[in-house]
Symmetry: C2
Subunit: 156 residues, 2 copies
Protein backbone atom coordinates (compact mmCIF):
# COMPACT_ATOMS: atom_id res chain seq x y z
CA UNK A 1 0.00 0.00 0.00
CA UNK A 2 1.32 3.40 -0.95
CA UNK A 3 2.44 5.51 2.01
CA UNK A 4 0.19 8.50 2.41
CA UNK A 5 1.50 12.06 2.25
CA UNK A 6 0.73 14.55 4.99
CA UNK A 7 -1.48 16.35 2.47
CA UNK A 8 -3.72 13.25 2.36
CA UNK A 9 -4.61 13.97 5.99
CA UNK A 10 -5.63 17.63 5.65
CA UNK A 11 -9.26 18.45 6.34
CA UNK A 12 -11.24 18.72 3.13
CA UNK A 13 -11.60 22.54 3.40
CA UNK A 14 -7.79 22.78 3.59
CA UNK A 15 -7.14 20.42 0.68
CA UNK A 16 -7.75 22.76 -2.28
CA UNK A 17 -4.37 24.51 -2.38
CA UNK A 18 -3.06 25.06 -5.92
CA UNK A 19 0.32 23.78 -4.78
CA UNK A 20 -0.47 20.80 -2.59
CA UNK A 21 -4.23 20.30 -2.41
CA UNK A 22 -5.23 16.73 -3.23
CA UNK A 23 -8.62 18.10 -4.32
CA UNK A 24 -7.26 20.77 -6.71
CA UNK A 25 -7.26 18.97 -10.05
CA UNK A 26 -5.59 21.90 -11.83
CA UNK A 27 -2.83 22.25 -9.24
CA UNK A 28 0.53 20.59 -8.67
CA UNK A 29 -0.62 18.20 -5.91
CA UNK A 30 2.79 18.25 -4.19
CA UNK A 31 3.14 15.47 -1.60
CA UNK A 32 5.41 15.57 1.44
CA UNK A 33 6.70 12.64 3.49
CA UNK A 34 9.18 11.82 6.23
CA UNK A 35 12.41 10.26 4.98
CA UNK A 36 14.42 9.48 8.08
CA UNK A 37 14.88 12.71 10.03
CA UNK A 38 14.23 14.78 6.94
CA UNK A 39 11.13 15.59 4.95
CA UNK A 40 10.91 15.13 1.19
CA UNK A 41 8.78 16.38 -1.70
CA UNK A 42 9.37 15.06 -5.23
CA UNK A 43 7.95 16.51 -8.45
CA UNK A 44 8.52 16.35 -12.17
CA UNK A 45 7.36 19.61 -13.80
CA UNK A 46 5.52 19.86 -17.10
CA UNK A 47 7.46 21.07 -20.11
CA UNK A 48 5.61 24.39 -20.02
CA UNK A 49 7.06 25.19 -16.59
CA UNK A 50 10.11 26.73 -18.19
CA UNK A 51 12.05 29.91 -17.55
CA UNK A 52 14.86 30.22 -20.05
CA UNK A 53 15.10 27.39 -22.60
CA UNK A 54 16.05 24.11 -20.90
CA UNK A 55 15.50 25.31 -17.34
CA UNK A 56 12.69 25.29 -14.78
CA UNK A 57 10.70 28.39 -13.86
CA UNK A 58 11.86 29.83 -10.52
CA UNK A 59 8.28 30.54 -9.48
CA UNK A 60 7.50 26.83 -9.72
CA UNK A 61 10.56 26.06 -7.58
CA UNK A 62 9.44 28.68 -5.03
CA UNK A 63 5.96 27.13 -5.06
CA UNK A 64 7.39 23.67 -4.45
CA UNK A 65 9.57 24.92 -1.58
CA UNK A 66 6.58 26.83 -0.17
CA UNK A 67 4.30 23.78 0.05
CA UNK A 68 7.21 21.60 1.14
CA UNK A 69 7.52 24.01 4.07
CA UNK A 70 3.89 23.84 5.16
CA UNK A 71 3.83 20.06 4.70
CA UNK A 72 7.06 19.63 6.66
CA UNK A 73 5.73 21.89 9.42
CA UNK A 74 2.58 19.76 9.68
CA UNK A 75 4.65 16.58 9.93
CA UNK A 76 6.99 18.09 12.52
CA UNK A 77 4.17 19.55 14.61
CA UNK A 78 2.27 16.25 14.61
CA UNK A 79 5.40 14.37 15.71
CA UNK A 80 6.21 16.94 18.41
CA UNK A 81 2.69 16.76 19.79
CA UNK A 82 2.23 12.99 19.44
CA UNK A 83 -0.57 13.38 16.94
CA UNK A 84 -1.01 10.15 14.96
CA UNK A 85 -2.02 11.27 11.48
CA UNK A 86 -5.29 9.93 10.17
CA UNK A 87 -8.10 11.18 7.94
CA UNK A 88 -8.38 14.17 8.42
CA UNK A 89 -6.59 15.46 11.48
CA UNK A 90 -3.32 16.86 10.10
CA UNK A 91 -2.41 20.30 11.46
CA UNK A 92 -2.60 22.90 8.71
CA UNK A 93 0.17 25.47 8.38
CA UNK A 94 0.46 28.50 6.13
CA UNK A 95 3.59 30.34 5.07
CA UNK A 96 4.72 33.38 7.03
CA UNK A 97 7.82 33.94 4.95
CA UNK A 98 9.69 32.23 2.16
CA UNK A 99 13.26 32.86 1.00
CA UNK A 100 14.75 31.05 -1.97
CA UNK A 101 18.32 31.27 -3.19
CA UNK A 102 18.78 30.05 -6.75
CA UNK A 103 22.24 28.49 -6.89
CA UNK A 104 22.26 27.47 -10.54
CA UNK A 105 19.76 27.01 -13.37
CA UNK A 106 17.56 23.98 -12.62
CA UNK A 107 17.51 21.66 -15.65
CA UNK A 108 14.20 20.63 -17.26
CA UNK A 109 13.60 16.90 -17.40
CA UNK A 110 14.62 14.94 -14.31
CA UNK A 111 12.65 14.79 -11.07
CA UNK A 112 13.09 17.67 -8.61
CA UNK A 113 13.72 16.64 -5.01
CA UNK A 114 13.24 19.03 -2.09
CA UNK A 115 14.46 17.85 1.29
CA UNK A 116 13.75 19.65 4.53
CA UNK A 117 15.36 19.88 7.93
CA UNK A 118 13.29 21.10 10.85
CA UNK A 119 15.33 24.02 12.17
CA UNK A 120 13.00 25.24 14.90
CA UNK A 121 9.62 24.33 16.30
CA UNK A 122 8.14 26.62 18.90
CA UNK A 123 4.48 27.14 19.68
CA UNK A 124 2.59 27.70 16.43
CA UNK A 125 5.76 28.37 14.40
CA UNK A 126 7.98 25.93 12.53
CA UNK A 127 11.12 26.93 10.61
CA UNK A 128 12.34 24.65 7.82
CA UNK A 129 15.57 24.64 5.83
CA UNK A 130 15.02 23.26 2.34
CA UNK A 131 17.42 22.04 -0.32
CA UNK A 132 16.34 21.41 -3.90
CA UNK A 133 18.40 18.97 -5.93
CA UNK A 134 18.29 17.48 -9.40
CA UNK A 135 20.12 14.17 -9.71
CA UNK A 136 22.01 15.04 -6.52
CA UNK A 137 23.08 18.49 -7.67
CA UNK A 138 21.97 21.40 -5.44
CA UNK A 139 20.09 23.94 -7.58
CA UNK A 140 18.34 25.99 -4.89
CA UNK A 141 18.07 26.36 -1.14
CA UNK A 142 15.32 27.93 0.91
CA UNK A 143 14.05 28.84 4.34
CA UNK A 144 10.35 28.75 5.18
CA UNK A 145 8.68 30.05 8.31
CA UNK A 146 5.36 28.24 8.69
CA UNK A 147 2.53 29.23 11.02
CA UNK A 148 -0.27 27.03 12.30
CA UNK A 149 -3.71 28.07 11.06
CA UNK A 150 -5.91 29.11 14.01
CA UNK A 151 -8.54 26.52 14.91
CA UNK A 152 -11.32 29.04 14.39
CA UNK A 153 -10.20 29.88 10.84
CA UNK A 154 -13.20 30.71 8.68
CA UNK A 155 -15.58 30.82 11.63
CA UNK A 156 -15.13 34.48 12.49
CA UNK B 1 -2.27 52.30 -28.51
CA UNK B 2 -1.64 50.08 -25.52
CA UNK B 3 1.70 50.69 -23.82
CA UNK B 4 3.97 47.71 -24.21
CA UNK B 5 5.33 45.81 -21.23
CA UNK B 6 9.04 45.13 -20.87
CA UNK B 7 8.23 41.47 -21.54
CA UNK B 8 7.05 42.44 -25.03
CA UNK B 9 10.65 43.40 -25.80
CA UNK B 10 12.40 40.18 -24.71
CA UNK B 11 14.09 38.18 -27.43
CA UNK B 12 11.90 35.32 -28.61
CA UNK B 13 14.09 32.66 -26.95
CA UNK B 14 13.63 34.47 -23.62
CA UNK B 15 9.86 34.91 -23.98
CA UNK B 16 8.65 31.43 -22.95
CA UNK B 17 8.76 31.85 -19.15
CA UNK B 18 5.79 30.26 -17.39
CA UNK B 19 5.45 33.41 -15.31
CA UNK B 20 5.97 36.22 -17.78
CA UNK B 21 6.62 34.81 -21.24
CA UNK B 22 4.36 36.37 -23.86
CA UNK B 23 4.78 33.16 -25.90
CA UNK B 24 3.81 30.73 -23.10
CA UNK B 25 0.10 30.26 -23.67
CA UNK B 26 -0.29 28.10 -20.53
CA UNK B 27 1.54 30.59 -18.29
CA UNK B 28 0.53 33.70 -16.39
CA UNK B 29 1.90 36.23 -18.91
CA UNK B 30 2.72 38.79 -16.20
CA UNK B 31 3.45 42.24 -17.64
CA UNK B 32 5.62 44.88 -16.01
CA UNK B 33 5.65 48.62 -16.66
CA UNK B 34 7.07 51.86 -15.30
CA UNK B 35 4.61 53.90 -13.26
CA UNK B 36 6.43 57.06 -12.29
CA UNK B 37 9.60 56.07 -10.44
CA UNK B 38 8.14 52.69 -9.56
CA UNK B 39 7.47 49.55 -11.56
CA UNK B 40 4.12 47.79 -11.55
CA UNK B 41 2.71 44.36 -12.39
CA UNK B 42 -1.05 43.71 -12.19
CA UNK B 43 -2.76 40.34 -12.28
CA UNK B 44 -6.10 38.78 -11.45
CA UNK B 45 -5.64 35.10 -10.57
CA UNK B 46 -7.94 32.28 -11.62
CA UNK B 47 -10.27 30.84 -9.00
CA UNK B 48 -8.19 27.67 -8.85
CA UNK B 49 -5.15 29.63 -7.59
CA UNK B 50 -6.36 29.24 -4.02
CA UNK B 51 -4.61 28.32 -0.80
CA UNK B 52 -7.14 28.20 2.02
CA UNK B 53 -10.73 28.96 1.03
CA UNK B 54 -11.12 32.58 -0.06
CA UNK B 55 -7.40 33.34 -0.32
CA UNK B 56 -4.69 33.30 -2.98
CA UNK B 57 -1.99 30.64 -3.13
CA UNK B 58 1.33 31.96 -1.77
CA UNK B 59 3.27 30.23 -4.54
CA UNK B 60 1.36 32.29 -7.11
CA UNK B 61 2.20 35.47 -5.16
CA UNK B 62 5.87 34.43 -5.03
CA UNK B 63 5.76 33.76 -8.79
CA UNK B 64 4.28 37.18 -9.45
CA UNK B 65 6.90 38.89 -7.26
CA UNK B 66 9.63 36.82 -8.94
CA UNK B 67 8.74 37.93 -12.48
CA UNK B 68 8.02 41.45 -11.29
CA UNK B 69 11.62 41.45 -10.09
CA UNK B 70 13.17 40.36 -13.37
CA UNK B 71 10.91 42.69 -15.34
CA UNK B 72 11.73 45.62 -13.06
CA UNK B 73 15.43 44.84 -13.30
CA UNK B 74 15.22 44.88 -17.10
CA UNK B 75 13.45 48.25 -17.04
CA UNK B 76 15.94 49.73 -14.56
CA UNK B 77 18.99 48.39 -16.40
CA UNK B 78 17.71 49.74 -19.73
CA UNK B 79 17.09 53.17 -18.20
CA UNK B 80 20.49 53.21 -16.46
CA UNK B 81 22.27 52.30 -19.69
CA UNK B 82 20.20 54.51 -22.01
CA UNK B 83 18.82 51.54 -23.90
CA UNK B 84 15.63 52.51 -25.72
CA UNK B 85 13.45 49.42 -25.61
CA UNK B 86 12.34 48.04 -28.95
CA UNK B 87 11.61 44.64 -30.44
CA UNK B 88 13.56 42.67 -29.15
CA UNK B 89 16.43 44.26 -27.29
CA UNK B 90 15.30 44.19 -23.65
CA UNK B 91 17.98 42.97 -21.23
CA UNK B 92 16.97 39.64 -19.71
CA UNK B 93 17.42 39.05 -16.01
CA UNK B 94 16.98 35.93 -13.92
CA UNK B 95 16.39 35.65 -10.19
CA UNK B 96 19.33 35.14 -7.88
CA UNK B 97 17.24 35.20 -4.74
CA UNK B 98 13.66 35.85 -3.75
CA UNK B 99 12.29 36.59 -0.27
CA UNK B 100 8.59 37.03 0.36
CA UNK B 101 6.97 38.01 3.64
CA UNK B 102 3.25 37.22 3.78
CA UNK B 103 1.68 39.95 5.91
CA UNK B 104 -1.92 38.76 5.79
CA UNK B 105 -4.05 36.36 3.74
CA UNK B 106 -4.49 37.73 0.21
CA UNK B 107 -8.18 37.73 -0.71
CA UNK B 108 -9.41 35.98 -3.86
CA UNK B 109 -11.26 38.19 -6.29
CA UNK B 110 -9.81 41.67 -6.80
CA UNK B 111 -6.77 42.49 -8.90
CA UNK B 112 -3.34 42.00 -7.31
CA UNK B 113 -0.93 44.91 -7.71
CA UNK B 114 2.80 44.53 -7.20
CA UNK B 115 4.84 47.72 -7.14
CA UNK B 116 8.61 47.82 -7.15
CA UNK B 117 11.28 50.24 -6.04
CA UNK B 118 14.76 49.90 -7.47
CA UNK B 119 16.94 49.58 -4.37
CA UNK B 120 20.30 48.99 -6.00
CA UNK B 121 21.70 48.68 -9.49
CA UNK B 122 25.33 47.72 -9.83
CA UNK B 123 26.98 45.93 -12.73
CA UNK B 124 24.88 42.92 -13.66
CA UNK B 125 22.86 42.97 -10.43
CA UNK B 126 19.63 44.80 -9.63
CA UNK B 127 17.89 44.66 -6.24
CA UNK B 128 14.17 45.39 -6.09
CA UNK B 129 11.84 45.95 -3.14
CA UNK B 130 8.31 44.82 -3.95
CA UNK B 131 4.97 45.46 -2.27
CA UNK B 132 1.86 43.48 -3.14
CA UNK B 133 -1.47 45.14 -2.43
CA UNK B 134 -5.13 44.31 -2.94
CA UNK B 135 -7.38 47.34 -3.08
CA UNK B 136 -4.63 49.34 -1.38
CA UNK B 137 -4.11 46.87 1.47
CA UNK B 138 -0.56 45.49 1.80
CA UNK B 139 -0.75 41.67 1.78
CA UNK B 140 2.90 40.78 1.08
CA UNK B 141 6.30 42.36 0.63
CA UNK B 142 9.36 40.98 -1.10
CA UNK B 143 12.96 41.51 -2.08
CA UNK B 144 14.34 40.18 -5.34
CA UNK B 145 17.98 40.09 -6.42
CA UNK B 146 18.05 39.87 -10.21
CA UNK B 147 21.07 39.00 -12.34
CA UNK B 148 21.62 39.81 -16.00
CA UNK B 149 21.76 36.72 -18.22
CA UNK B 150 25.19 36.44 -19.86
CA UNK B 151 25.20 37.43 -23.52
CA UNK B 152 26.56 34.02 -24.52
CA UNK B 153 23.74 32.14 -22.75
CA UNK B 154 22.93 28.95 -24.64
CA UNK B 155 25.96 29.23 -26.90
CA UNK B 156 28.37 27.36 -24.67
Amino acid sequence: MKTKAVQDFYEERFAHCYGCGRLNKDGHQFQTFWEGDETVTRFTPDLNHISLPGFIYGGLLASMIDCHGTGSAALAYAKENNIELEEFNAPRFVTGSLCVSYKKPTPMGPELVVKGKIKEIKGRKVVIDATLTVEGDVCATGEIISLLVPEDFGQK
